[in-house]
Symmetry: C2
Subunit: 198 residues, 2 copies
């Protein structure tokens, strides 16, 4: 196995086991029995290594969502399924989730635009489901992309509150998720637009 692949393997394991704040170049290198500076022959710096580490996690999440978006269930059901899948991913794999959605991209200014676009694929897929819902008369929405971002924000909020332990102990996590997703669906469903004065 090439050193590059070995670095990625050990790095990924460390990310999952110990979290982003407990990863270090020296620890990764030490586990492979190589000097820490060798990593710099294969990755520009730590940030690039970590972004490479989670690249396939991003693709995995996208694939999960794409598979739901491409079924022929009705749009509202798809949206709920996407929402649950997203939240489940965030809760199952908080370490990767944190890197994917909580890190500031200005920390890696040279990150290729192509990869940023990949990270945005989920929004596009959700927007497509909303367009479909509007066409089929299940949803009301003038700007599906904007709505997709609003819903995404909501999902991110749900994950954050749970992962960062901001939820009141009186409330069960599952009940909270069900409630929040129901709330989310209500926000876009048709018949739910009385006179709103914003």
């Amino acid at each position: 196995m090439s050193l590059r692949k070995e670095i990625l393997k050990v790095g990924k394991r460390m990310l999952l086991d110990e979290g982003i704040s407990n990863i270090s170049m020296r620890k990764i290198a030490g586990e492979i029995d190589v000097s820490a500076t060798s990593i710099y022959l294969h990755f520009r710096n730590k940030n690039h290594l970590i972004y490479t580490l989670i690249e396939e996690s991003v693709e995995e999440l996208n694939r999960l969502i794409r598979d739901i978006a491409n079924t022929d269930r009705d749009p509202l059901a798809k949206m709920e399924s996407i929402a649950r899948t997203y939240v489940a991913f965030g809760l199952d794999r908080p370490q990767e989730y944190e890197v994917i959605f909580m890190l500031h991209p200005e920390e890696i200014p040279r990150y290729p635009k192509k990869k940023f676009r990949k990270a945005r694929e989920g929004y596009e897929l959700l927007a497509e489901v909303i367009r479909e819902g509007v066409d089929k008369g299940e949803m009301k929405e003038e700007n599906p992309l904007k709505a997709a971002y609003a819903i995404w924000a909501q999902l991110h909020g749900i994950v954050s509150v749970v992962v960062n332990r901001r939820l009141d102990t009186r409330i069960s996590v599952n009940e909270f998720i069900n409630h929040a997703i129901a709330h989310l669906i209500r926000g876009i469903q048709i018949n739910s637009h009385p006179q709103v004065t914003i």
Copy 2:
């Protein structure tokens, strides 16, 4: 001025100017012209210092929300106002916001419970507004506290998406916020509950 207060003053300025990841004990101490270890005579460690730093920010945000909650406007208007205030706070003061709502609390296991309760005051206030809305027939909600957390999650998501630069450049920040808050209000408003099958 006592050294403790001076540490807090300089620390706060550094937090606002340079962000949490660019604060260091030595830098704070250096600016006051004192040794770094002196800080440990006044704060248990760096985490405790930082949490003390943002304590008054938490109180400020609570006060803003409390002032809205205590007016006699109708509950829906109050909720929108609280939502806008929360988002504005997060965008105006991202460095403090990050510490308040994005840091993992397990990093300070000895943090007094009283202070955690203070950080939760916002949820309680929002829950109270929802209860009021239900009583006045403006909102429909079985569990106001749970709903308050769902809405809070949504607000946190809105702030996160913008602050972490995850918003598509085709979408203006203001439009997005307006949209997301409208979406949020729709989720709890009465007449917006057709047959949802979750």
